[in-house]
Symmetry: D2
Subunit: 354 residues, 4 copies
Amino acid sequence: MNKIKVSIIGSTGYVGAEAVRGFLCHDKVELVHLTSRSFAGRKFSDVYPVYRGICDITVEDLTPEQVAEDSDLVVTALPHGVSSQTVPVLLSKGCRVIDHSGDFRYKNLSTYEGSYKLEHPHPELLKEAVYGLPEFYREQLRTARLAANPGCYPTCSLIALAPFLKAGLIRKDSIIIDAVSGVSGAGRKSDLAYAFCETDEAFKPYGVVGHRHTTEIEEQASFLAGGDGTDIRLTFTPHLAPFKRGMLATVYCRPSDSFTDVTAEKINAVYNDFYKDERFVRVLPGKELPDVKAVYGGNYIDVNGTYDPSTGVIKLFSAQDNLGKGAALQAVQTFNAMFGFDEGDGLLTTIRGV
Amino acid sequence: MNKIKVSIIGSTGYVGAEAVRGFLCHDKVELVHLTSRSFAGRKFSDVYPVYRGICDITVEDLTPEQVAEDSDLVVTALPHGVSSQTVPVLLSKGCRVIDHSGDFRYKNLSTYEGSYKLEHPHPELLKEAVYGLPEFYREQLRTARLAANPGCYPTCSLIALAPFLKAGLIRKDSIIIDAVSGVSGAGRKSDLAYAFCETDEAFKPYGVVGHRHTTEIEEQASFLAGGDGTDIRLTFTPHLAPFKRGMLATVYCRPSDSFTDVTAEKINAVYNDFYKDERFVRVLPGKELPDVKAVYGGNYIDVNGTYDPSTGVIKLFSAQDNLGKGAALQAVQTFNAMFGFDEGDGLLTTIRGV
Amino acid sequence: MNKIKVSIIGSTGYVGAEAVRGFLCHDKVELVHLTSRSFAGRKFSDVYPVYRGICDITVEDLTPEQVAEDSDLVVTALPHGVSSQTVPVLLSKGCRVIDHSGDFRYKNLSTYEGSYKLEHPHPELLKEAVYGLPEFYREQLRTARLAANPGCYPTCSLIALAPFLKAGLIRKDSIIIDAVSGVSGAGRKSDLAYAFCETDEAFKPYGVVGHRHTTEIEEQASFLAGGDGTDIRLTFTPHLAPFKRGMLATVYCRPSDSFTDVTAEKINAVYNDFYKDERFVRVLPGKELPDVKAVYGGNYIDVNGTYDPSTGVIKLFSAQDNLGKGAALQAVQTFNAMFGFDEGDGLLTTIRGV
Amino acid sequence: MNKIKVSIIGSTGYVGAEAVRGFLCHDKVELVHLTSRSFAGRKFSDVYPVYRGICDITVEDLTPEQVAEDSDLVVTALPHGVSSQTVPVLLSKGCRVIDHSGDFRYKNLSTYEGSYKLEHPHPELLKEAVYGLPEFYREQLRTARLAANPGCYPTCSLIALAPFLKAGLIRKDSIIIDAVSGVSGAGRKSDLAYAFCETDEAFKPYGVVGHRHTTEIEEQASFLAGGDGTDIRLTFTPHLAPFKRGMLATVYCRPSDSFTDVTAEKINAVYNDFYKDERFVRVLPGKELPDVKAVYGGNYIDVNGTYDPSTGVIKLFSAQDNLGKGAALQAVQTFNAMFGFDEGDGLLTTIRGV
């Protein structure tokens, strides 16, 4: 069988580089082009020495048209506002695309434009794009030209919330998501705020009102609950923690009237039932709780929940690697869904033990 | 003036050792006895080499009676259940005491006994003990024989909540405290769970239902709101983060009917007004948010808050050093209140810059 | 083709668990038994939750005889003194063995017994065992029954020194190896010395005289230089650094009379020439220097060197993952050599990008 | 008594900020001006929020003349090449100066100019400047106008070597210094190389040939050995380690003919004898070895040594805080020597326990 020709635009940021790792491990993929403006002409392994001897492809500065010419699928890891201009070119040349920006994640144009303070140049693509969470959209992905890979916080939050939203087991008016990300979430850049001496032994909230992922979570949460994407408002607070990779969400919500006699065991059972066929969503047994350590380097997301009878609050927990299931490895899973491969192809041995 | 003779029982755990650091820096204090069972006979600086040449006192294994004999004040850093038996002996010998356990923090006996699964051998002392948060109880501390130093999470949570509870600005039925602690909060022990390779690059919730600090926060929150200590139930979730020292609380609550037209500016103003005379509570300016990095090594606690108009949720943030304001340096502040010294004595230069 | 049946004795320590990771990734291997005394009866993924859904094999407490019964190859990750008793049983039952202890690494019995303060119960096996550094012993490994996987520091040191010792380019009487290991090198144990709060932000030398790896390096260095294993004495100093995985050696030596007009370029050329066919030894280009970051999670070892004309000292540098090339992934490479597979099988995608 | 008026030029880098911390703690000092180009007009506590309420002085952009006008002592934390132009102005206005750059550390002009690739605009000051290591130059510092605060690596190396060089106990032709620094040594800057995700879990050598501190160590080592500053060549290799603050040197050398029957005990005794009156040099007892953890935040430097009879190599170890004894706190000690205060003033309680 011919291998699928995959190119990665924006390959030298942390998400792009993790996409390289993911697709390198995939035996049905041939990496064709890795592009980057800043590092064009250098080998990928000069930018990331860990890849010396493993991926010595020369990074190029190509136009979308050039990339499209000999690629079946293009992964774009570009800033929002740039993706919305690059992706249509790739599609017009016949490539399928998995995009990592926020530009194609929304169905509701005004929500996008309000959140990103941008006018969308190709609003018609919002309808066509499929939200790249295979657990919920794998059927649509199979034939999608364009997959919009979810944000890291949305993936972590939605996987935790989905079984309860879909079954109407929680109230939609009082959801609070308190989340924590590793530093790689800020991207690869020379910024004093992310310098070792400023970040190590530090921990702080940021973007505490109006973080863009809030509206992305709200829209998808609404869809999961059977809504039109505009009827849920929830509270979201991200924090920055001193580790490289990883993300944990602690979600607070209240049972709806239809969820009676709530217990931790019932919550665990809801998860087990809902995700019983999902290999990358691991429902932890009993009272075991997610830890970012246990998802490092992989495409797995661990979930569990509990109930506080004293206050009537349900607590849901989910942990993932923000670059893995939260970004580029999820793109590989989506790729598998799009091209009809086993969803685990290339993704089962990326974890790190210790 | 004669110096106050201070002894520390349980001086070689992290809290006890931080108490040593705090009282060493205090020019009106003479450290008399440092006790420890495990390290008796060794110099304190053999246990903590950083103190070589700074505190070479020999650690002793003494009875409470022996310690009491030549001490004006005894700081106890003992497990709960042990403090409740040791402290009464110290008091009976005429010492004043600052205790770090949960044994004297509650006014309501049944709340204590329910939370700690212990029968209290000296319930009469619960009434006498003063909760060692000088910001709220400094008058009572002035003459107290026994101060019950608050838990780290309660200090962090209560300082954040107090101005709003006291003024009736928030609803008491929907408070959620999501908090994060550094690893030193687990104490100094040989436990695989806190080994470097198990804790570095990790982040996880723990004690997610029924953590003891929940009831401690509830009782004091009730007092702050004018209640009898039993009328508030709140949701509390602690997490463990990969840094040595530090604690951050993110508190979610809703405005009461009397708090109208809520804005971040108003929340900041409430804080500024309430804490304007408190040197250790730093209300951050504008939209600046607390970071555990900025309180490392000191007795300071940084607070600020914001308002999410989309959901009507108030978010309050507070950061402290869990061993500092969260434990042993707060004990120094309490000591100052008890002995009539300036509350800042010995506490102004313990921070670390970088 | 039938898969090779591999079992791992002592599978729940860090080295054993990394062996699990390594052999899991190998498509010609079937993992048969994972043994452990402490965790028998639990799933491997209960001990290491990262493996949930990936390796849920139940850990067993089996005798060597039981393990041998249905294994082609047994990997032993046992303390020295235990391996020397277990391995002969496995061999006698017809298994091939890769052992991770020091018990079979020496050819000279008295060096072993002096270094380990033990009498060897099976000295006849010292002659038979092949030192498991495929770069130097792959021919012998092909038919070996017993491979003695090298120590982490010896691998790192010998790969750096080999080209110069073999060609007689350096003096044998003044070699100094200054090396640094991550904390996982100390093993998985509840020990205050390796607690997060004791190890983070710490850096110290240890075992500064008589560390056992010294004699192991000396014997193999002598063989590389054409000696009988007893004619080299060198200086070795290990240090403990605050990261989980990784090892770096800085080697100081002086050119022999036959190495004239030494330059950094010549040193680089010696490395390139010597290791040109070795896929896991990466000679860095130009003046680029090894960094433990770049070998994390893999079986690669990066080397380069320079020359200080002011003092006539050659500096050699090598970096590896102490659990990877320094231990369990090297065992996979050795396995490949022993069973005639491509040496890279299962080892090319274990790295971590960021 | 009037307080000494101290100003700090370049106060917002890590060294400058640590000088602020040091002089803030000194009760005989009044901080007058803190200068910085980048942050002029902002409060020092806006740049370093940890100082909120502790040091809220407004940072200014002043000329050296303006600073000199109302300062008794000026601490300069400027790049080399800038200091050599600023310091003469300060001196000409009657200020005493402690400079942190390399510009005044050398006696031999050509060594300076060769190492720094700069022509010195005021070579006459090289003779006058006193090397700011109080342990060796306190008499000269008493009357010095200009103290050249040593480099961090030189302080760490020279304190380790001095007793042996002064007494002629080691050979001068084979000294090797292998050293490790925390990341703050690179300064406060937006540089990808020092970003958290690039530095955490990393460890690497750098500047492996010709690092400027080599010649600084050589010159002072020569003076200690009674030479003219030009007769010692030694090998020096710095490494970067993933912690904020701290530095450790491992020094390899060989006994001279006059040092017979070398043992670890004798080495320890040499240290104890030489440093018996030095409060900031702590000779560790017995076989205890320095750890950067134990010097964090203070002006202390811990030393000890051992002897490897197998190779005849002496190993010396020293650990300090690179920003403390290695930079700005040593400047406070030097200040005390210059102004006739107790050398410990302001320096005894800056450590951090855990």
